[in-house]
């Protein structure tokens, strides 16, 4: 007995693997970012940019596969949702990875190796990495409960970010104009990781859509 649409199912599975691979590679970018903070080695920051090229290529590849599947296979129901979800999640991951590039560029340009700054990046990235890891696990297992749990963790990241902002404002009050300007830049840099957390929320929404076919607004 020939199983129906076996080749199509294989292609769908491959698309899923690519999204998971993209998640892994994006996670590696944040690992590198933390390493840059710990070692103050700017060569590692350059590697983040190289890593991003790979992530962008994966996104393009997922887009091409998804478009071809839609054009050639006429997907419907859960098959269609799976393809749409792959497209959307890959787009979120690409943005998430871009933030590490922005931070790396800032580090290379300013050679900012202020311990407090590096510590802030590390602590926010650590919280974020845990979120990213678990949201990709939720995607792989199609686990809505886990996706919603991870979404709640975004509050922890937001709180940590706000705490950091408050501390920066406190410092800025007694600082020179130049130091205030620098603090503003640091604020923008740290905001990138906070934004990455929002993209995880978007991924959670897509997992709910994939599994239940329902559109939810979690953010």
């Amino acid at each position: 007995m020939t199983a129906n649409r076996r080749h199509f199912v294989e292609e769908l599975n491959n698309l899923n693997y690519k999204v998971l691979e993209m998640g892994e590679e994006t996670l590696k970018s944040y690992v590198r970012l933390i390493l840059v903070c710990k070692t103050k080695d700017l060569d590692l920051a350059e590697q983040i940019m190289e890593q991003d090229k790979l992530i962008n290529e994966l996104e393009v590849s997922i887009n091409v596969d998804a478009y071809l599947l839609i054009a050639k296979q006429c997907p419907v129901a859960s098959d269609l949702r799976r393809i749409i979800t792959a497209l959307k999640i890959s787009n979120e991951l690409e943005r998430i990875a871009d933030y590490t590039v922005n931070i790396a560029k800032y580090m290379i340009a300013t050679k900012n190796n202020n311990d407090q700054f590096l510590e802030n990046i590390t602590s926010l990235s650590t919280i974020f990495m845990d979120m990213l890891k678990r949201i990709m696990e939720a995607f792989e297992k199609e686990d809505v409960k886990l996706a919603l749990e991870v979404n709640s963790a975004d509050e922890i990241l937001d709180k940590e970010y706000k705490k950091t902002v408050k501390n920066l404002i406190k410092t800025a009050k007694t600082s020179s104009d130049e130091e205030i300007e620098e603090a503003m830049r640091v604020l923008i840099v740290l905001k990138q990781i906070e934004r990455a957390g929002d993209h995880v929320t978007n991924i959670a929404e897509n997992i709910v859509y994939l599994v239940n076919g329902k559109r939810v607004e979690l953010n």
Binding site: T2, N4, F8
Partner: protein
């Protein structure tokens, strides 16, 4: 082995005064599925039948140009047509099993070729049915009548019968148009599996079928080959406006 199975050069075909094909140039690669699409009367089935000289049987049919199979022009006077049709098998629109047992349907061709050894024939029958994804379904009634099989099974039997002759190419003329959607999907899966060992050229009225199963797609219109490219290209970025209009359902 040469990568190109068929090379068609400036092929023109006439049914008496009526010209059905105009200057077709095309190459067909080994172990690929090539789909021929186009509206009714566009010449796709006529073209398919040129490849194993099935048009020879039609009175008033005249052909000019070249159809090279493995680099030899099949329209040369000295060409062995029987051997051509062994190497280039064909499956038709309507399943047409012989009114005999499943076993005898498959063994018919090899027997005609002089194979008498029962063990060899048993082996051919089993292998052919397995390759056609039919063996598991019929193994306990292999000596039963082929006419008792469902339409989809009969069509897979016809594919098994073609495979038994160890062809290089299998031509399929709308092989699923008489089948229900599930039987159709089974044949499509089978085509995907078969391309590892065979070159398949299929005429289909279903554009979605062409998109799903083929590597290359050739679009015919009024006897002219309008566009021939990878299926990925044809269904995402066709070069010719006529192809785009046809596949998007704007005409046809």
């Amino acid at each position: 082995m040469e990568n190109t199975v068929f090379t068609i050069n400036n092929l023109n075909l006439y049914y008496d005064q009526f010209q059905a094909l105009y200057g077709i140039d095309m190459k067909i690669k080994r172990n690929e599925v090539t789909a021929l699409i186009g509206p009714s009367g566009c010449g796709k089935s006529t073209f398919l039948r040129c490849l194993n000289r099935m048009n020879d049987l039609i009175e008033g049919c005249n052909i000019t140009g070249e159809v090279k199979f493995n680099e030899k022009d099949v329209y040369m006077n000295s060409y062995d047509v029987i051997n051509l049709r062994t190497k280039v098998g064909m499956v038709f629109q309507k399943p047409n099993p012989f009114p005999m047992s499943i076993y005898d349907n498959i063994a018919y061709g090899p027997r005609c070729q002089g194979i008498k050894d029962k063990k060899v024939l048993d082996d051919i029958v089993k292998k052919s049915l397995t390759k056609a994804a039919l063996y598991d379904e019929v193994q306990d009634r292999i000596k039963g009548s082929a006419m008792s099989l469902s339409g989809g099974q009969q069509q897979r039997l016809c594919i098994a019968r073609a495979i038994a002759m160890e062809p290089e190419v299998i031509l399929m003329d709308e092989p699923t148009s008489a089948l229900d959607p599930i039987a159709t999907l089974k044949i499509e899966e089978l085509i995907n599996d078969l391309k590892k060992n065979y070159t398949i050229i299929i005429v289909t009225h279903s554009m979605q079928q062409a998109a799903r199963i083929s590597d290359k797609t050739a679009f015919f219109l009024m006897g002219v080959l309008i566009e021939n490219d990878s299926t990925n290209k044809i269904f995402t970025q066709p070069k010719n406006k006529k192809t785009e209009d046809y596949i998007t359902g704007r005409f046809g």
